[in-house]
Symmetry: C2
Subunit: 229 residues, 2 copies
Amino acid sequence: MYTLFHHPMSTGSRMVRLILGEYGLETTLHEEAIWDRREAFLDVNPAATLPVMADGDRAIIGAQVCAEYLDETQGQRQRANRLFPEDALARAEMRRLNDWMLDKLENEVVRYVVRERVTKRLIPEAQGGGPPDSQALRAARTNIRYHLQYIDWLAGTRNWLGGSSLSCADMAAAASLSVLDYLGEVDWADHPALKDWYARMKSRPAFRPILSDRLRGIPPVSHYVDLDF
Amino acid sequence: MYTLFHHPMSTGSRMVRLILGEYGLETTLHEEAIWDRREAFLDVNPAATLPVMADGDRAIIGAQVCAEYLDETQGQRQRANRLFPEDALARAEMRRLNDWMLDKLENEVVRYVVRERVTKRLIPEAQGGGPPDSQALRAARTNIRYHLQYIDWLAGTRNWLGGSSLSCADMAAAASLSVLDYLGEVDWADHPALKDWYARMKSRPAFRPILSDRLRGIPPVSHYVDLDF
């Protein structure tokens, strides 16, 4: 039995939810507003980041760390559904893409979009809340183009993003893109291979809870839940 | 035979050099000035980050990814010298600390110090070179205090940073601190447990090449190479 401390707009949290879902592992979700800096949470994770996954009384901190832990403790028994490739080089490629999504795409695009369009509406002005900074949003919207092109290229040249089989790299990318898509920031029309890959991801049963996420006062774009978008 | 594309002021590069050194794996170093955006390098790693490790014709990208790959391909034969703990929970703790050093400490301190004090002296003004931004440096120097306290606390309560045995977490932290120490940014006097742990790291044979690093025109502080500092 797992508990995941998460937030609907946290890419890393969504990635771990997708992995837990793919593996059919029962999970209790606990939404954590990290800007509240809850003391009991900081005791467990002084970095004040999400996600944190509790496996019984063990706390696993960070999305990639959770992915590694779940592979080590559950991967073998998942057999053909295992989300880590068998080969060390293929695993390195999967991890490179995980870094890309959780670090590069996050720090060049997602972090800004979520802060300006979501977090600033949820937190008081004294903590940095308020209207979005249009310059930061513009920068993020310029940066996203290159990322969409790159993931579109990956999707167009490989069966799944990391190679021939479904892997954590698909979970990481789908997590990033689902956050951006909720807010209507993804231009699907110009990226047909990306769109086709995302439609396949969206139709997976593990994706359903992600499509049910709703932020108070900030509804998703109308096509967010549609399998045909 | 390994080739490492690295830079002396890149934390991730130093971490992988330390692991390769601990494992006694012969490595050719190739210094990469990523700001030159060399095309052949970008073809291999479009993220334009260091380190990139070549194992024959295989390219492994990113410090943590290299650490995982080296554990998977070399860890077993290293026996007692293996830098990954046996237990999944201990590995998760090691990876959490690796993230802390390579991501949090990097983005709150090291990146700014290196950019302001080193990179800006090495690159032309048109690419962003010039005198250091004292505000950015001041912010980094405020942030470093908390990190030194935290690593000092880890060093004071555990045998090695990740737990009872030497692990990649020690390599990651020593990599970060050695970059900062080269530039004289570490207050050792106020952090005795940290200093004791770093002295143990510094005296390891794998550390010697790190202590021989020199930047053109930017010499290290006088105690940089001293085992008694």
